[in-house]
């Protein structure tokens, strides 16, 4: 689960191409929630496990449900996981990082040591554990994935803020006697955005990957929902007879990830050329 730096000259085109494709997928996801060729949960015993055809471009699954309709109806779930988890890590992680940077001492120790602790658990295991405690559902997957990425966001924000705190304009604000909230909100945050936005782009990719992996392991949205990871897991039993049941959602997932990756890459090139070449574990 990693990301690469594209050659620098392509910057605008990756962003534009990725953005356009992502918009298209988003549109398909929104439309897919209401408008699908068939009812994505309706059974058709006589049409089960049919190969792709003009009637069913992606074939049908073990209940005779139209796979294309199910892929469309499930698109918003993957998007929700990606962007939802990113939002959670942003909303929780950025304030914590800022506070840790500003209030050195005991506050910082508590925040940063908790972060160390959370980061020491492999993400998949942390997700597995969190979801084993409670019955799975979409929002819990989103929360679990978001939680996994909070520490990374905290570390990044803190590092960026620490650098900014040394800058003259912040020192000047301090000299003027401005309070912590004002300094953080008006001086630090506006200047800390570029690396944070770049990080967000990365997080969306990872969140979609991790979310679909958890869902594949049975810890996401529940049937008859058609989350792509879940569809792949359900299709495994029929891999030999009807590979399309697995392949359609799997390839869709790949396309989505390529698009998000392109956008993240474009953002990175655009906003923070110095970040190129740095690791993003």
């Amino acid at each position: 689960m990693t990301l690469i730096a594209l050659p620098r000259l392509r910057t605008p085109s990756t962003l534009v191409l990725g953005g356009a494709l992502l918009l298209l997928i988003g549109l398909a996801a929104v439309v897919g929630m209401w408008l699908t060729p068939y009812d994505p949960t309706a059974f058709a015993v006589r049409d089960r496990l049919q190969p792709p055809s003009a009637l069913h471009p992606f074939g049908t699954d073990e209940f005779g449900r139209d796979v294309l309709s199910r892929v469309l109806a499930g698109a918003h779930l993957s998007l929700a996981t990606g962007f939802g988890a990113m939002a959670i890590s942003l909303v929780v992680g950025v304030p914590l990082g800022l506070i840790a940077a500003f209030h050195r001492g005991i506050t910082e120790e508590v925040v940063m040591r908790s972060v160390d602790l959370l980061i020491a658990l492999p993400p998949v295991l942390l997700g597995l554990l969190v979801l084993a405690v409670t019955p799975p559902s979409l929002w819990k997957t989103v929360a679990a994935v978001g939680l996994v990425y909070v520490p990374i966001m905290v570390r990044l924000t803190r590092a960026v803020a620490l650098g900014l705190l040394e800058e003259d304009f912040v020192q000047a604000a301090r000299a003027r006697g401005e309070g912590a909230p004002t300094i953080l909100w008006h001086e630090i945050l506006p200047n800390a955005w570029p690396p944070i936005i770049v990080e967000c782009g990365l997080r969306v990719t990872f969140a979609i990957l991790l979310g679909s992996a958890l869902s594949f392991l049975g810890l996401g949205p529940q049937p008859p929902a058609s989350e792509w990871g879940l569809m792949i897991a359900e299709g495994r039993d029929f891999l030999r007879q009807a590979p399309w049941v697995c392949l359609a959602p799997g390839l869709s997932l790949c396309v989505l990830l390529v698009c998000v990756n392109l956008v993240g890459e474009g953002l990175r090139e655009r906003l923070d050329p110095q970040l190129r070449g740095r690791s993003h574990a």
Binding site: A120, L121, L217, P243, L253, S279
Partner: protein
């Protein structure tokens, strides 16, 4: 702050993380829904049998007592007993760890050699068709989730080609060829994403070095291109790649859980998923502890390497 102080601080941090982790794992494991006694008795559990078994297993003691019993036993090398399999957890985990390690070692070597090799190739063939193709391939490798790679591999190799034993494991005593054939697919799937990662980084840092004044000067002195590459450019370009490799060792552990599940490879990841499914708490606790310890160690080594190679971090680390 000197290197020794930095090291000491980091070591203390590591111990703290491990202790905190033991508390966290114990806590999470004990609020898992389900009940050990029910898990052992299966569909035959009666309330009386459950109560009796719980008493026998010491599950009615207060949690702090159970935690201390667990921690002190573990420090003395007693890893407890898998209650579902009724066997000592230590050897079970050691065996599984050994099998996971052979996956990890091969995957990691592949990542190191393949990643750096491809990165160097791409950097020295910058802008040519082969570089562009590599970029595209790497891009795709990264965008495919591990579990989907695994399913594709099963589909293609086991179902269509009948080539490799797509899943499972064969002990070395079955012969080297058989043992190795079971490793090929999981190792490849584990390595795919990371190879791309490392090669991209190697490529960009190599390009940076090749464009640097230092290399230009060497070329100007009339040194052979081969010598410029191997003697001057490569060592400088490798530094960032090596640190990234250390970080990727940590990522590999996460990937192993998924890959072992799909390939039915009897390693540590699968043992943990089994422990979660069968509610085997002693096994789960110790297994999680071992995995996090390895993960924390990998992070620790990564941090050390980074600090050694890039002294500026040490200052930042001191304030972290």
């Amino acid at each position: 702050m000197g290197m020794a102080a930095f090291l000491l601080r980091r070591l203390l941090g590591l111990v703290g993380v491990l202790l905190g982790m033991s508390l966290l794992i114990f806590g999470i494991v004990h609020i898992l829904p389900g009940n050990v006694a029910y898990a052992i008795l299966g569909e035959f559990a009666t309330p009386a049998a459950v109560a009796q078994l719980e008493a026998k297993l010491g599950l009615n003691d207060p949690l702090p007592v159970q935690y201390w019993r667990w921690l002190s036993a573990m420090l003395q090398g007693d890893f407890g007993t898998s209650i579902v399999m009724q066997r000592p957890a230590g050897p079970l985990i050691a065996e599984a760890l050994g099998r996971s390690a052979s996956l990890a070692v091969f995957a990691f070597s592949l990542v190191a050699m393949g990643g750096i090799g491809l990165g160097l190739y791409a950097a020295t063939h910058r802008g040519r068709t082969s570089d562009k193709v590599l970029t595209l391939v790497q891009f795709l490798l990264i965008a495919v989730p591990e579990f989907f790679w695994a399913i594709l591999a099963v589909l293609v190799f086991a179902s269509w080609l009948n080539l490799l034993p797509a899943t499972g494991y064969a002990p070395l005593s079955d012969g080297v060829a058989k043992w190795a054939s079971h490793l090929v697919l999981p190792v490849l799937v584990l390595a795919f994403g990371l190879v791309a990662h490392v090669s991209r980084l190697t490529r960009s840092s190599m390009i940076e070095v090749l464009d640097s004044r230092y290399v230009l000067a060497a070329r100007a002195r009339g040194l052979a291109e081969r010598k410029v590459l191997w003697r001057h450019a490569l060592p400088n370009a490798l530094l960032p790649a090596i640190t990234v490799l250390a970080i990727d060792a940590g990522l590999l552990i996460g990937g192993i859980v998924v890959v072992e599940t799909v390939f039915a490879y009897p390693g540590l990841g699968r043992l943990l998923v089994y422990a979660i499914e069968r509610h085997d708490l002693p096994l789960l606790q110790v297994g999680m502890m071992v995995v996090t310890a390895i993960y924390a160690l990998a992070n620790f080594v990564a941090e050390l390497l980074y600090a050694v190679l890039n002294p500026r971090i040490r200052v930042a680390g001191a304030t972290a």
